[in-house]
């Protein structure tokens, strides 16, 4: 009797556990289990390509602007910050404290892990927000893009970062027949765009889904668009504090020079 009754008790307990677990599965609304694959955040990487129109930029060749002015490039660097990924519902995921110094030497920039979901756009700013722009750059370890770079992309005479730094040479002769000497035209060309007032936001449409694998998003920066409404023949040098109109003009071109592949 004893053994039978204990067996019945065991069976009852077993059934009880079964029933309660059944209840949990069907009635308890609390922990909705989503398949692990779609819930997991994924690494997102930005890939930047300096381009001229449809073609990629070879830093050893010479180009012509739309108006036919010949030029070549020796430097094409800029800061990107304030990066946000826009979800389909309009909400934004901010990549906090991420400052990218985009240079032609480095193609890929990891943004870290981004929540899974459907996205419809990318936002970022060219330059550095005012608060960070005027912090002491010597605080940063030399692994940080905000530390003093070689060559420098920070002004010490007017403390702040250069948001976009484009340098090269160009042919300003009236006949366009300047002779390249050691790979250089006669006229030095430089665009050092900084100052808080030239901080610009860029907004790009791009549908992408973050689910099961890391994502790489390729962004192109078009030098032709940088020079929209700029005549390189006469407008080829600005330090932002000098030739201020030209600095503003090219800063206003920032939002239109980026496209996403």
């Amino acid at each position: 009797m004893k053994s039978i009754s204990s067996k019945i008790i065991l069976l009852a307990v077993f059934l009880g556990v079964l029933i309660s677990s059944c209840n949990k599965k069907h009635d308890d609304p609390q922990p909705v289990q989503i398949p692990v694959e779609t819930a997991k955040p994924q690494n997102v990487t930005f890939k930047f390509k300096p381009v001229k129109g449809d073609s990629s930029i070879n830093f050893y060749s010479t180009f012509r602007t739309g108006a036919g002015v010949r030029f070549n490039l020796s430097m094409y660097r800029y800061y990107l910050s304030n990066i946000k990924l826009v979800k389909n519902d309009g909400s934004e995921y901010s990549i906090a404290d991420k400052y990218l110094l985009v240079t032609p030497n480095i193609e890929e920039y990891s943004l870290g892990e981004v929540p899974a979901g459907d996205y419809k756009g990318i936002k970022f700013s060219v330059g550095i927000d005012s608060a960070t722009n005027h912090k002491d750059p010597t605080f940063y370890p030399n692994t940080s893009p905000l530390s003093i770079q070689s060559p420098a992309i920070h002004w010490s005479w007017n403390s702040g970062y250069i948001f976009m730094m484009i340098e090269g040479t160009c042919d300003t002769t009236s006949t366009g027949n300047d002779v390249l000497t050691y790979g250089r035209f006669s006229k030095d060309m430089f665009f050092h765009i900084g100052l808080d007032k030239h901080y610009r936001q860029v907004s790009l449409n791009k549908s992408f889904n973050i689910s099961s694998s890391p994502q790489t998003i390729t962004i192109m920066a078009d030098i032709d668009k940088f020079w929209t409404n700029v005549d390189l023949k006469t407008e080829n040098q600005t330090h932002s504090f000098s030739n201020t109109e030209l600095a503003k003009k090219v800063a206003d071109n920032f939002p239109n020079m980026f496209t996403v592949q």
Binding site: N142, I148, F241
Partner: protein
Amino acid sequence: MNSIGINQKMLLINIRLLLAVLCLLVLNISCKKGKDEPLSEIINEIPSNEEISLKVPYGFPYPDVPADNKPTQARIDLGEKLFFDPILSRDNSVSCASCHLPDRFFTDNLTVSIGIEGRKVERNSPTLINVAFQKSMFWDGGNPTLEQQVLAPIDNHNEFDFDVNEIVKRLQKHKDYSTLFQMAYKQAPSVYALVRAIANYERTLIGGTSKYDDYNRTMNSDVFSESEYRGLSIFFGERGECFHCHGGFNFTDNSFQNNGLYLTYPDSGRARITQLPTDVGKFKVPSLRNVEMTAPYMHDGSISTLEEVVAHYVGGFKKHRNKSLIIQKLNLTTQEQSDLVNFLKTLTDKKK
């Protein structure tokens, strides 16, 4: 007699032995001073890294010091060594002290300073005495702190024309600096510690030992000559009204003013920073302490003597549209002008 002779011989041998031992000892010590030995084994007294107080004279406030760069003897010593070391310039030819000479009250008495390869700097080099009390750096105030300021002459094409990261590499290879940086900032030579060490040293360059300071401390006007005392009344009174801009313990209100130096300014001054047309031709009001010894004057060194500076305010200024309204023609006799100059000369610190 003989025994005395032997004794004398013994003494001689003893002395020779002693000398030999001494020689060996000296040799041994000089060996230790060899170039490859770390510095910490050479110097007898390791400078303390305990926070110390800056010596602030009567009537001066204690300077603002950043929390991460409190003065210590190790930091001051390191900063001083760096200040005088041309390792900071591209071709190892120019140091901070090339334009800020201690013997010349930390200026160079040149119209504009000279950087590497004889290149001319844009502006006149200001004294560093009392630089700890400056609210912003440079004639246009474009840099906010003494620490960050250090970067500017380094990468200026006309000054050191160099790259601060390259300096750090040089310092890391140097036989002494790694130890000194460790002692001062507990790290290998870095941009962070480099700029802080130099600023730490510069904050110790405090004056306040002038005849005027003697007067200010004792209120005994007998320290002045008749002429100097008349000059003081002009300076602080309605005849000169100089104190409006050049007031306070440091003889500056740290503002930016256009003093009518030109009708057209080749150097736009403060406007280069603010981009405001109303700031064209404005420059930082300089401290007048040690002004006797820091000629020539103005941001571009365009006025050679104190007499000419006073003459500028007596009626030599131009009516630039941004000229400070405070600057009005001073109606001073020749005697009063020289009285004013004589007073200004009482602001010179006694050399230590």
